[in-house]
Amino acid sequence: MSEQPSSPAPEQGHRRNKPSITRSTRPRSSTKGPLDADNGLLTSPTASASQLSPSLQPPSRSSSANNTAQPRPPPSPTPQLGEARPKDFTFLLQPEIYHPLNVQNIPPAFRNSPKQPNSETPIDELLAKGHFRAAAIAAAQELTGSTINGTSIDPQDASRIFRLLYTRLACLTLIDATSLAAQEAKALEDLNDARRYIDDNTNEHLVPWELRVLHVRLQALGFGDPRRAVMSYHDLAREARDRIRKASLSHDNSARELWKSRLHELGIKVAGALIEMDDLSGAAHHLNSLRDRGDGKLALSKALLWLHLGDIGNAKLCASQCSEDTENVEKLILALCDMADSNYEAALQKWQEFDITVTDEMIGVNQAVCLIYLGRIQEGRNILEKLVDSGLSSHTLLFNLSTTYELCSERNRILKGRLTEKVANMEQSPFGWEKTNADFKL
């Protein structure tokens, strides 16, 4: 291009009519100035260290140079064509992204428990013991480099950054702080931005699948636009299909199965997103287009959707479609149908027929709910208390038991307080140990 004669030929319409501009931008890209040295090929370590000196920084870059936790300034937003360089995720390491977590909504029985982990407990141990609030805090501290031992994170270490970020956001959703997670997820902006998130060498997306899936829901919440989730799940599904095709071509069976199950999961999530935007008929139509995997889950999902809509006839049809191996699912659907028909005697009988040797929290809780609708609250309360005594503590169980306490006594706060102590004394497990005031209606 530079060899072209200086007089521009008018007939070459695709050329710029001001070649002087083209010529002036070209040489600048090939010059390795202090700002372009981040691929480190031509610069010595001492040279890159000297870049941190503010005197060498142009004034426009001084803001990023102030942050000493970052060894390099962020790369220029427009990498040159064909130039492969590691992505920089400094923008995810800013402390202002991560909100402080409120402890005011944690009952004292948990706040003051000796089971509270100390700040040096590693994240994987926190997760295994169900300390999700502590894990969320630890993940944010590690991301922003404010941990006690002060090892700061490499802004190019994509796998570590995203593992921590996923831990942070996932844990927030587990401690009833999903709206905070939605705010924090905004820092990721558009995960489809190839320049930010696709590795130039491998062409792989640098963000792990589970974070991309979680981001869809959080982004829809953050923007208050549930329709967006449906769209984004479909985008991911297109990619999953492509992966299935590639895995089939390369006879990689395990990869094919992995992507197939991910695709199926996305299909179910689309139905959930449709329900959240109140498009129940759309969700029903969509579920009908999915294939059952033989575990009875799809029949149950459909039945639950019909019940949610109030169409008991169609829910019963789903029960009749259950195979013999999924007899329990059939009985479960019919018991729920009885409850939807306000036929609590019949429903109670069905719940009682379930095998009591298998502890299923759902069956116990639903039986108790049935008893309360039948005017037998004392029996219902006994069942719920026994479930808690056996070590169960789902949000629903605690909420229903707390509601029962509210009905059974003016001094229900004492009963609820005792319940918080009982739950705080439970074993720590991945089911989650710490609960919030809302779980006990406090």
Binding site: I123, L127, F132, A135, R163, A170, T173, L174, P208, L214, E257, R262, E265, I268, G272, I275, E276, S281, K297, L298, L300, S301, L304, L307, H308, G310, D311, I312, N328, L332, L336, M339, A340, D341, E361, M362, I363, V365, N366, V369, I372, Y373, G375, R376, I377, L392, S394, T396, L397, F399, N400, T403, T404, E406, L407, C408, S409, E410, P430, G432
Partner: protein
């Protein structure tokens, strides 16, 4: 539902040993869940969802990763009350004395009335279930911490202010003496319209036969805040009239789902059964077809039903 204690006629100033608690028993709801992969799981493997992200634990009955789960929550709040629904409510009278109290609580009774906005005034409500020991009317003795639970049902037919009045009476006995005490609590709520029905009748001129025909059209508008599914629309016709249903139940179509603000149009073909024994006319020359009944279901099967007033058309003199 706002509530207030009613100034009772009880001359005794000390606090009551029995409390009353109420909860509106709308349909229980299916709990939602958002299953996620556990953090720190090995990359590129399909792992089981994080147990804490499921609505309940340890089960093969959970349809994860689906949003809805089969475990049921008791009603979270009072919600909205709509004309056409059955209002159901549980009333609990509790002995709140400590276990070592000297007083004994005997003969606890609950009564309930509903005050409606119309001329009907106040209606006494029937309480279920019957006491396990003895007759329905008898009182129950309550141990400290004990609860007497009753359930009332009431078909909501009018818009406007409703007041549920709950009266609890019991006798408080010590070793040496006894007295009967009574208190009353009022719970007020507003009942709103759920469905607006607009009808239109047009006569269908038949040139050959003497049998008269009409088209009855109706627009059903969901003016509640919930999604409903219409279950049935029936015409209860007067004697001498027949009708043909032109709606979903006649051709096996799906039942229509109405979101808040949405309208479903229904249509009936009404005709005389014979030219001779047609229906009588009213004094002002109107012919009465009958009433239109509309049944629907809401979330988790919540049932609603309402019927219109008498529908008819002015008939030209033969």
């Amino acid at each position: 539902m706002s509530h207030q204690a009613y100034p009772s006629h009880d001359p005794i100033k000390e606090p009551h040993s029995v409390s009353v608690k109420v909860l509106r028993l709308s349909q229980p709801s299916l709990v939602t869940q958002y299953p996620i992969d556990p953090p720190f799981s090995p990359p590129n493997t399909k792992s089981q969802p994080a147990p804490a992200s499921l609505a309940y634990s340890g089960s093969n009955t959970n349809p994860d990763p689906f949003l809805l789960s089969p475990i049921l929550n008791l009603p979270v709040s009072f919600g909205s009350a709509y004309v056409g629904e059955t209002f159901s409510c549980t009333l609990c009278a509790n002995n709140d004395l400590p276990p070592d109290a000297a007083k004994r609580i005997r003969d606890v009774r609950i009564e309930a009335e509903m005050k409606t906005p119309g001329l009907g005034g106040t209606q006494k409500l029937e309480l279920g279930p019957a006491n396990i020991h003895g007759a329905l009317a008898g009182g129950v003795d309550l141990e400290p911490g004990g609860t007497l639970q009753k359930i009332v049902g009431f078909d909501l037919k009018e818009e406007g202010n409703h007041v549920l009045a709950v009266t609890v009476s019991y006798s408080e006995a010590t070793e040496t003496s006894g007295r009967t005490r009574t208190f009353r609590k009022l719970y007020q709520f507003i009942c709103k319209a759920s469905l607006i029905v607009r009808t239109k009748v047009s006569s269908l001129n038949s040139d050959t036969s003497n049998i008269k025909k009409w088209i009855l059209e109706a627009q059903l508008e969901n003016c509640s805040e919930d999604v409903i599914q219409l279950e049935k629309v029936v015409l209860d016709t007067e004697e001498g009239l027949g009708y043909h249903d032109c709606n979903w139940s006649s051709d096996g179509d799906k039942k229509p789902v109405l979101h808040p603000g949405e309208i479903e149009q229904v249509c009936f073909l009404v005709q005389e059964k014979g030219a001779d024994n047609g229906p009588r006319l009213t004094a002002d020359g109107r012919m009465i077809f009958g009433v239109l009944g509309i049944g629907w279901r809401g979330e988790m099967g919540c049932r609603g039903f309402l019927s219109t007033g008498k529908l008819g058309a002015r008939v030209a003199v033969r």
